[in-house]
């Protein structure tokens, strides 16, 4: 995903508001300057709310980080990476944490003990925002609209009762699933019947719900649920 800012063609091009910001996969460089960066995703999210929630902004930051790598990031970008508790997708937690601690020691002048404590505080602050975003997604108009599209009320009630505990863990602790964080199995694994989890043969697809829109199975239902829950498009 790219972040663009409208090119200054003349004095009339900008209307004084940040509506000239655009988020798109296909940025027209004739019309927009590509301002995609860790800093711009972070600061424009805070100032202009350009992402749906904190977790979506974090995803954007991680996308840039995966391209630049930690070693290619500036000190300010590394601060943002620490604050948003993110790391390169294919980097282990221990390696990422070591890099972060070394950054805090050598670039921020912290002692090792203070750096570890800072990392823990950063996680705690991030976790609060993670939970807020998870709850927003779980109680969003768009999620309920998707459920209404694919399930009868009777099946929706059955679905709700079946996922009571994973849903509770998602909305109160941000526990999502084995492919979305480090907290083990979660709601996403049930919805996607994730291979290798408890829900591989007992997840949403295996419930056998008749799709209210006429679909032959729950494939599209699952895709649209995850658009909201994983991608934050709501």
């Amino acid at each position: 995903m790219k972040l663009g800012y409208k090119k200054i063609i003349d004095e009339m091009s900008l209307d004084g508001t940040d509506s000239n910001l655009i988020i798109t996969d296909n940025l027209d460089l004739n019309l927009y300057d590509d301002i995609t960066s860790i800093e711009n995703w972070y600061y424009h999210y805070i100032q202009n709310g350009i992402c749906s929630d904190y977790l979506q902004m974090r995803d954007r930051v991680r996308d840039v980080l995966d391209e630049k790598k930690w070693s290619g990031c500036t000190s300010t970008e590394k601060d943002i990476i620490i604050e948003t508790y993110t790391r390169e997708t294919n980097k282990s937690i221990s390696v990422a944490n070591t890099e972060k601690i070394l950054h805090l020691i050598y670039n921020k002048g912290m002692s090792q003990a203070n750096a570890i404590s800072f990392l823990q505080s950063s996680f705690a602050n991030f976790h609060i925002k993670e939970i807020e975003a998870s709850l927003k997604r779980a109680q969003s108009y768009q999620l309920f609209k998707v459920i209404a599209k694919y399930l009868t009320i009777s099946d929706a009630a059955d679905f709700t009762r079946t996922i009571t505990t994973p849903y509770h863990l998602y909305t109160t602790q941000g526990i999502r699933g084995i492919n979305d964080g480090e907290a083990g199995e979660g709601l996403f694994d049930f919805i996607e019947s994730t291979v290798g989890t408890s829900y591989e043969t007992t997840g949403l697809m295996q419930q056998g719900y008749i799709m209210a829109n006429g679909d032959s199975d729950a494939t599209n239902f699952i895709i649209e649920l995850m658009e909201v829950l994983r991608k934050g498009n709501y």
Partner: protein
């Protein structure tokens, strides 16, 4: 003998349900064993004929039994436990 993984609850359940007959709609199925689904109230029932289906533990189902044991109206007030 073979090595297999179960939770303790599954061990208890399986000692009871093995060989019990459950109605799947109007068809009698003989239960081979069950698996409990983590963090849900779901049970996966594996039948002796190879059929497999899910149920919710808290729902009511029909079984083939010697004597029915339904819920009935109480004949005395609720008995309170002894708080220590």
């Amino acid at each position: 003998m073979a090595k297999a993984t179960f939770t303790f609850d599954e061990m208890v359940y399986n000692s009871i349900v093995n060989g019990k007959q459950i109605y799947y709609n109007d068809e009698i199925k003989v239960i081979d064993y069950v698996k409990l689904v983590k963090d849900t109230r779901q049970v996966q029932i594996i039948c002796q004929d190879g059929e497999v289906f899910l149920v919710n533990q808290d729902d009511v189902f029909e079984f083939e039994v010697n004597s029915p044991k339904p819920m009935v109206q109480p004949t005395k007030p609720k008995l309170k436990g002894k708080n220590k």
